[in-house]
């Protein structure tokens, strides 16, 4: 009893946070460290050679295939992010500013539901929708809009972007919505009162104040999509495969864990660099005085 009472707040705080912290340490920090270490080793068949080598990185960076995959991953993830956030902003704006308060939760709920239903099956269904004889093509041909099926829809980067934009929609909408909700409505009235038009008020007040949400949305969409595996495999075709697919191949099919690790480390580095650029760059852009 007295023991519990007399321990300082700091000790109690550490004691309480210890289980999740230790868990994250042993199952996140340690494994990531292990991947890093492994990426400097090499593997012949099943035996790991523990001498330090940069060979994996040399191979990963010099082989055009790996370079292409890495670059393509960034491009596709970037395109996905832009599309997703651009599509998401009006929705977040609509729900925050034009939906009556008691209906907001319902809208958010409606937006989140599709996200919680089997990812694999959802991605597969996009294949059904976008395919040569798919739903979209047969519908458009039935309506007489097109004469023959469109082929640029499936098995390329387009289909990956569309599918990912769908899969990550709530990840983009929610942070933007939250930051829009936080905007004190009287600020907008003040701007109008000071003579700005609706459009300028949006540009000069709403948008800058929503920036943290937009940045969060960009990061939270971009980061996982760079490493997405399922979508490129199912709808990407040869022109749509990404770095994650190669990492998986190295680990599970070619049994070259060190090279796979190096690719994983490079992917993480890329993600980190892009994330830093985005958060610093946009932050500066918004805060810069005109």
């Amino acid at each position: 009893m007295a023991f519990w009472q007399s321990r300082s707040e700091t000790t109690k705080g550490y004691a309480t946070v210890a289980p999740p912290l230790l868990y994250a340490f042993f199952l996140l920090a340690v494994p990531l460290g292990a991947v890093l270490v492994l990426s400097f080793w090499s593997q012949e068949f099943q035996t790991i050679d523990r001498t330090f080598t940069l060979a994996n990185y040399r191979e990963a960076l010099s082989d055009p295939l790996y370079r292409l995959l890495l670059w393509r991953s960034v491009k596709i993830a970037g395109a996905t992010t832009i599309v997703t956030v651009l599509l998401a902003f009006p929705i977040a704006y609509f729900v925050s500013f034009h939906v009556p308060p008691h209906k907001k939760s319902l809208w958010i709920f409606l937006i989140t539901i599709p996200f919680w239903t089997s990812y694999l099956i959802r991605v597969f269904l996009w294949k059904v929708i976008l395919g040569y004889g798919g739903v979209l093509n047969s519908a458009l041909m039935g309506l007489g809009v097109i004469d023959e099926p469109m082929t640029f829809l499936l098995y390329n980067a387009n289909s990956v972007v569309i599918t990912l934009a769908h899969a990550f929609a709530p990840f983009a909408i929610l942070p933007i919505f939250v930051s829009l909700e936080k905007i004190d409505r009287s600020l907008l009235e003040a701007s109008r009162d000071l003579g700005e038009s609706t459009a300028m008020t949006f540009l000069r007040v709403t948008l800058p104040l929503a920036a943290p949400g937009v940045i969060a949305a960009i990061l939270i969409v971009f980061i996982p999509t760079v490493g997405d595996y399922v979508t490129p495999r199912l709808v990407g075709g040869p022109d749509g495969t990404m770095i994650a697919n190669m990492i998986q191949v190295q680990f599970l099919q070619l049994s070259n864990a060190p090279l796979g690790s190096a690719l994983a480390v490079l992917a993480m580095l890329t993600v980190t660099v892009v994330a830093l650029i985005v958060s610093l760059g946009i932050g500066r852009l918004v805060r810069a005085p005109k």
Partner: protein, 366 residues
């Protein structure tokens, strides 16, 4: 005559580098209604939480009924608290809230229920037992918090700004109700407030705190009439402060000269015991001075001046008057009696005062 029910001796409290309480000595008698009064951040809540057992002293002792409370956790102390936010459990009914502390008592079910109903009746919530707590109004929550604490018959009841969240009407009503309740149950109450009026209305004694120290501990009347420091004087009501000088000193008091008011005799209890010859500060309350209307006669001291500002309050008018030969205005309050005119700004007027009401502060820095 028993000893104090609570005795604080040299209580210090610091959070890291910050000293929040800097040596509190305080004896509280059984059945007393004591108020801790002071500006925001002066350490009132901290002191209360030390007595309740939620904070430990950095130095010093806290005795309750003669027992050292060091290491005794809050749940083992004979104190109960009414929290500023009331802390009424939202997942329980009113009756369950009030019965919360009875869980470990050996009373039978029926006895408990009777006690709960009695406690609810005491705070004017008879019959509200089955209500859900989260559906109560602020004033009702306050009463539930009171009943819940009182039902345990604590040695001391601690109240942290219990009325500050209520609107004015309800607050005034609860002030008199709390006072009545305290007399009825005879439990020692320690109330924290930053509202000087509330402190004056309710307390047997008031401890005025500034910056982690008790500046003065006295019953309301004494505190108002003879504040010991300029801080206290300014915190409680309005006090005009004027520069002056002690001219003579004797066993029957001191002889001072005050700017604008001239010479006056000050009784020993109106001045610090060690008052010395030399300059210092004098104080006089607005209501002990009057504005004299044309032709009005008085045998009190009189001076002339100009009305610099008039503030009309309905029942009262406050005049700021600059006396001839001085540069700072004095505030004077006048009752608005029928037939009594309200002076205009800029008018010349005579002012009178009762020299016995002057308080001397000595050389304290302003």
């Amino acid at each position: 005559m028993t000893g104090p029910i609570i005795k604080l001796d040299g209580v210090h409290k610091s959070y890291g580098e910050v000293d929040v309480l800097k040596g509190i000595d305080l004896d509280i008698a059984e059945g007393e209604f004591l108020t801790l009064l002071g500006p925001s951040g002066c350490g009132k809540t901290t002191l209360l939480r030390i007595i309740a057992g939620f904070e430990e002293v950095t130095d010093g002792v806290c005795l309750i009924s003669g027992r050292d409370m060091a290491g005794v956790p809050a749940n083992k102390r004979p104190t109960n608290m009414v929290f500023q936010s009331y802390a009424v459990f939202p997942h329980l009914t009113v009756a369950q809230n009030v019965a919360f502390g009875l869980r470990r008592s050996k009373l039978g079910k029926a006895e408990k229920a009777a006690k709960v109903e009695e406690a609810l009746g005491m705070v004017g919530l008879g019959g509200y037992g089955a209500r859900a707590a989260h559906a109560l109004s602020g004033g009702q929550r306050q009463r539930v918090a009171l009943a819940r604490a009182l039902i345990l018959e604590p040695t001391v009841l601690l109240l942290d700004e219990p009325l500050s969240a209520l609107d004015r009407k309800l607050r005034e009503q609860m002030q008199s109700e709390l006072r009545r309740l305290q007399r009825q149950v005879g439990i020692t109450f320690i109330l924290v407030t930053h509202d000087q009026e509330e402190a004056l209305i309710m307390s047997d004694r008031i401890a005025v705190m500034f910056g982690g120290r008790i500046a003065q501990l006295a019953p309301p009347q004494e505190l108002y009439r003879r504040p010991r420091t300029l801080d206290v004087a300014r915190f409680i009501g309005v006090m005009n402060v004027l520069p002056g000088e002690v001219k003579e000193k004797g066993p029957a008091g001191i002889e001072v000269r005050v700017d604008g008011l001239g010479r006056a005799r000050i009784e020993p209890e109106q001045a610090p015991s060690g008052a010395r010859i030399g300059t210092g500060w004098a104080g006089i309350r607005p209501e002990t001075m009057s504005v004299l209307f044309a032709g009005e006669q008085t045998d009190r001291s009189v001076a002339e001046g100009e009305v610099a500002e008039v503030t009309y309050y309905g029942d009262m008018t406050y005049y700021d008057v600059i006396l001839d030969g001085t540069d700072r205005p004095l505030t004077i309050s006048m009752k608005n009696l029928i037939g009594r005119e309200v002076l205009e700004r800029g008018a010349r007027t005579r002012v009178s005062w009762d020299a016995r009401s002057i308080v001397w502060f000595g050389e304290e820095a302003v």
